[in-house]
C-alpha cells in the first residue's frame, strides 16, 4: 500500500541516508550501527524496523530476504535498498534545508555554517 504523499521525518531521513551509505550491505544490524555511529543516538531495533517498514509502505525502500549465518542462529537477514523515489525524497529534504540555510546570519545557530 502506497501512501499519497511522502514527507520525511527526521529519523526516517537518517535511516534512509544510512541505508544509502551502506549500499548492498544494508540490513538491520549494519543500519542500526551506522545510525548510532553517525547520528550519535541510541536506536532500538523495534523503532528501526517500524521506520523501515513505513518507508517501504511509502515506496522509498525495498527489501529482500538474505542469507543466514551461525552468529544469527540460522536466522535470515533482510536487506534494504533505497529506491529512486527514496533518492528523490532525500534530495527534496536537502533542498528544503538548503533554502532555509541560505542567507542565514552566521552564528545564529551557535556556530559557523
Amino acid at each position: 500500500m502506497k501512501l499519497k504523499k511522502s514527507y520525511l521525518g527526521e529519523f526516517e531521513e537518517i535511516v534512509l541516508l544510512a541505508t544509502l551509505k551502506l549500499g548492498e550491505k544494508a540490513y538491520g544490524t549494519t543500519i542500526r550501527q551506522t545510525v548510532e555511529e553517525i547520528a550519535e543516538r541510541f536506536t532500538s531495533v523495534g523503532a528501526l524496523y517500524a521506520t523501515l517498514e513505513r518507508l517501504e509502505r511509502k515506496g522509498l525502500v525495498s527489501s529482500k530476504q538474505g542469507e543466514s549465518t551461525n552468529e544469527r542462529g540460522g536466522r535470515a537477514k533482510r536487506y534494504f535498498k533505497v529506491e529512486a523515489s527514496g533518492l528523490k525524497a532525500l534530495r527534496e529534504a536537502q533542498a528544503i534545508r538548503q533554502r532555509f540555510l541560505t542567507g542565514f546570519t552566521p552564528g545564529l545557530l551557535g556556530g559557523a555554517i
Binding site: V45, G74, K77
Partner: protein, 175 residues
Amino acid sequence: MKETAYIPIECPNPHCKMLHNVDMRVIKDVLNGSCFVGLKCASCAMSFKQRLLYVTESDGTRRVTVVRTVRPVWKNKLKKFSGALNRNTAEHPRISEPPKLGEYLMYLLLSRQDRVNILGDLMEDYGTIESKFGRPAAVFWYYKQVVASIPPCVWKRLFKWGTIAAIGDWFRRHI
C-alpha cells in the same frame, strides 16, 4: 536354563554407535516384563535410556530383547527450546546465547514476519558486544533493546488495528 550374561546395546548417537555390554543382573528381577536401563555412553558421554524386554520362550529359554531406542534426553531438551524460539540449531550451532527471557519478550512483541530478522539482528549484535565488553554488558544492552522496542512495536500493532489507530496517528501528527 540358558541365560546370556551380557546384552549388547548400541549408542543412539549416529556419530558414535558404540556397543555397550549391559550386565543381565541389572534386569534379572524383571521376569516376563520390560524395564528401562539408563546408560551413559563411554565414548561420546551421551545419556540415553534403553527399553529392554525380558521374555521366556516356550522351551523355557529366557532372553532379553532390545525393544526400541528412546529419544536421548539432550534431544528432547533441544527440541523444546528450538521449537519455542524457532532456532535452527541443528544446522547452525550457536556461538553466544542471548538471555532467554529477553528473547522470549521480543518474540511476543514482534509480528510473525519480523521475528526471524529482528531476533537474528539482536543475536548478531549481542555476540559482538559480548566478545568486546563481556556478558553482563551484553545482557544489559539486550534488555535495553527490549524495553526500547516496546513502544514502537505496540504502536505498530495498534496501527494495524485500523480506524482507532488512524485517529490516534492523526492526533499525534496534528496536535
